[in-house]
């Protein structure tokens, strides 16, 4: 038997069509139902605890607005912003997104966020203090609304400190007091536990120290408000504490990344840390296996240097198809008392005054401690500086990375400080 000439001949046209169809299938998009129901997406960063609280608040919102469905997802801070950038570039940004103070300008300046003080996505801002709102404004436009505020806080294991004979913080304590106390804890435990997490690599704590000396991290026109000499002085201080063991050793310090599981305090390698009061989450005592006490930062100049920071903000994406629904959700999460109760202190102290009072009365455990701390220091807090320039996030990461060179003794402090300044300038210039 001979084969026919072209038994399975397929026209070229068909082949091209199939390829084309496959290509097109990859580019399709979804749409919404036509019955007036809309689905909006809300992405944020945080822990599972925060997610549970957020889901409760979203459920309340959906009850009150049956025509709107909210899909939400969360991840950790670093992953969140990496994903967000890609999503926005790909045109699939969430409608409502959680925004951080250090990224407001990055996104606001680039036209990615919808204006919230006028237009389709307008959200009312009564009950929010002026100082907080500046944290979400770029120029005279409001791009992000703080849902909560927090402030810098020192926290320590009071029981361990007393046992080691360390003097616990008073209202007017100094950096020298802190050093003596931390050293006492280290010595008292035979260096099994260090007095304090090495704080030298965290730009946020450096900022407080700078402000105590009347300087600021970024000038009004978005340049560095300090020089290599300031960085050198700061690192000389922390480095000398490290050499005597008052703060954690390099191998421990290098792993600090802001998450609770990598906090040396949680691993019982250290007895105190600088942080934000919003870090006092409801289950913290159980997770850390110890109770912590809050105190304000030490100072040496009479200035506290701490400020009311717009901890978490909410924004609406400029390209959202459902700006009104998105604005509704933002409004609800910030102002609604039911939502406020569900969220509690999961994002920090509620920004809305009414909600704050209501929530304050119901708290217990770590959030209550944070609330009391905040009430105590609130009168002495400065207003938040305007959002830092683009590249501030990168500079913050560089600060810790270059500090690694100091603690592993791979470079001198002066050389490292100069290296950091050049990297930071490069980061915020481009």
């Amino acid at each position: 038997m001979r084969l026919r000439k072209h038994p399975y001949r397929v026209p070229r046209v068909l082949a091209v069509t199939v390829i084309g169809a496959l290509l097109a299938a990859g580019c399709g998009g979804g749409g919404d139902g036509e019955d007036g129901r809309v689905t909006i997406r809300f992405d944020y960063w945080g822990s599972t605890e925060r997610a549970q609280a957020t889901n409760d608040a979203i459920a309340l919102f959906e009850q009150a607005n049956p025509a709107i469905t909210v899909e939400s997802s969360f991840s950790d801070f670093g992953g969140y912003f990496q994903k967000l950038a890609t999503q926005i570039a790909g045109g699939s940004a969430p409608d409502v997104l959680q925004m951080d103070y250090s990224y407001v300008r990055e996104y606001g300046d680039r036209g990615v966020l919808a204006q919230l003080d006028s237009g389709e996505a307008q959200v009312q801002t009564s009950g929010l203090s002026r100082q907080l709102l500046t944290g979400g404004s770029v120029g005279d436009k409001l791009f992000a609304i703080p849902i909560a505020q927090n402030t810098q806080m020192f926290s320590y294991d009071a029981a361990q400190w007393k046992q080691a004979g360390a003097t616990t913080p008073a209202d007017t304590w100094t950096w020298d007091d802190l050093r003596a106390a931390a050293q006492a804890v280290t010595d008292g435990t035979g260096a099994k536990v260090h007095g304090l997490n090495d704080f030298g690599g965290v730009l946020d704590w450096f900022e407080v120290w700078l402000r105590q000396q009347g300087k600021q991290l970024y000038t009004e026109d978005g340049r560095l408000g300090y020089t290599a000499a300031d960085v050198t002085a700061w690192w000389q201080m922390s480095d000398s504490w490290r050499r005597t063991g008052a703060v954690t050793p390099a191998e421990t310090t290098t792993k600090i990344d802001g998450t609770q599981e990598n906090d040396p305090v949680a691993q019982k390698l250290s007895s105190a840390t600088f942080g934000y009061d919003s870090g006092f989450t409801p289950k913290l005592w159980e997770q850390y296996g110890r109770e912590l006490t809050a105190a304000s930062f030490p100072t040496g100049t009479g200035k506290r240097g701490q400020y009311a920071k717009p901890a978490m903000m909410l924004s609406v994406a400029q390209r959202s198809q459902h700006k009104q629904a998105a604005a509704k959700l933002v409004d609800f999460l910030i102002h609604d008392t039911g939502a406020g109760t569900a969220l509690g202190m999961s994002r920090g102290l509620p920004a809305d005054e009414q909600v704050r009072k209501l929530v304050g009365a119901t708290l217990q455990g770590p959030p209550q401690a944070a609330y009391e701390y905040e009430q105590k220091v609130i009168a002495g807090l400065d207003a938040a500086p305007p959002p830092p320039p683009k590249g501030a996030g990168e500079a913050k990461v560089a600060f810790q990375r270059v500090y690694d060179d100091v603690i592993f003794e791979r470079a001198t402090i002066e050389a490292s400080a100069a290296k950091f300044i050049s990297e930071a300038e490069r980061a915020i210039a481009s």
Partner: protein, 322 residues
């Protein structure tokens, strides 16, 4: 049946009127439509997922692109900045070269060693083969990298074990001296793929060569050097090229073990990690695209160089011996 089967070769070599070359074209070349139909999923994938993005990134590498606003043409500025004005880029090149030069040979040696052992195992060889291959299947996953991090971390198994015999390292992951070695170890542990290929190569070596060398009284080492290695050299070459390219592109291990930061002190700042950081953390997609193309060129050059040396040491059976 039988007749038909027998008849087939005759039919195939049949009509003398049909010139041979036309016939071949007829048989393999004249149904392009069908070929393309079957190839279409692959072609679509290659166009959409590989070639398209590659061309886009080539274009972006000449622009300033922050992901949100449209790209601005900047010519060669990104490439110039890489070499003139970015110390971290050079750091990442150094780390990556060190990683390639350490991990590739170690992995190949491990693969060849185990393959030779397995080649002698007669009972349960399938089991051992799978057992040694398993890490390659698992190893690329982020989960294993996390486990790896825990094993070598402070208070991890390795640290505790060493502490028990009086060596205190404080964990390798957080040490600038050992962090890279942790990632090298993770790579070497995944020697399964080259091992399987080596094993196949070993089975191809004719037994009579071994018999001959045994008759000549060659020692095992001599046999390995004069019979196994030359006969296996094409496979060695293949594995070398493949593993080297893999090593240049390595990302997951470094990303997970260093927590995405390339630390401590930039000692695990792989090229790909820095590229990723620029693209997705620092909004410099154009710059990152330039890095990607530099990496592609470097890999191409190194691969070409390996091919250049291959003439001197790779022996293909059937060639005239020297």
């Amino acid at each position: 049946m039988t007749q038909q089967t027998l008849a087939r070769p005759a039919a195939a070599s049949e009509p003398p009127t049909d010139p041979g070359h036309r016939r071949r074209r007829h048989r393999y070349g004249e149904r392009p439509g069908l070929a393309y139909l079957f190839l279409s999923p692959w072609i679509a994938g290659a166009l959409v997922l590989t070639i398209g993005p590659m061309l886009a990134s080539l274009y972006l590498s000449f622009t300033d692109y922050d992901l949100f606003t449209s790209p601005q043409w900047v010519g060669l500025a990104n490439y110039r900045r890489l070499f003139d004005d970015d110390p971290r880029f050079l750091t990442s090149v150094g780390v990556t070269l060190r990683y390639v030069l350490i991990s590739t040979p170690l992995k190949l040696i491990a693969a060849l060693g185990v393959a030779i052992l397995l080649n002698r195992v007669t009972r349960g060889s399938a089991f051992y083969r799978s057992a040694f291959y398993a890490p390659s299947l698992l190893g690329a996953s982020a989960a294993i990298a996390i486990v790896w991090r825990l094993i070598f971390d402070n208070q991890g198994i390795v640290d505790k074990g060493l502490s028990a015999v009086g060596i205190h390292t404080g964990g390798w992951v957080a040490s600038p001296r050992y962090a890279l070695l942790v990632i090298v170890a993770l790579a070497v542990w995944q020697f399964g793929a080259p091992m399987v290929i080596f094993l196949a190569g070993l089975k191809q070596i004719p037994q009579e060569l071994y018999d001959a060398s045994a008759v000549d009284g060659a020692s095992p080492w001599r046999t390995f050097r004069s019979v196994t290695l030359p006969m296996l050299s094409p496979v060695v070459f293949f594995n070398l090229v493949l593993e080297m390219i893999h090593a240049f592109q390595s990302f997951t291990g470094a990303f997970v073990v260093s927590g995405g930061r390339g630390g401590p002190s930039d000692t695990t700042l792989f090229y790909t990690l820095y590229l990723y950081d620029n693209a997705f953390s620092n909004f410099r997609m154009g710059y990152a695209s330039a890095m990607a193309w530099v990496l592609l060129l470097v890999i191409a050059v190194v691969t070409a160089a390996l091919f250049g040396t291959s003439r001197r040491w790779v022996y293909y059976a059937g060639e005239d011996a020297r």
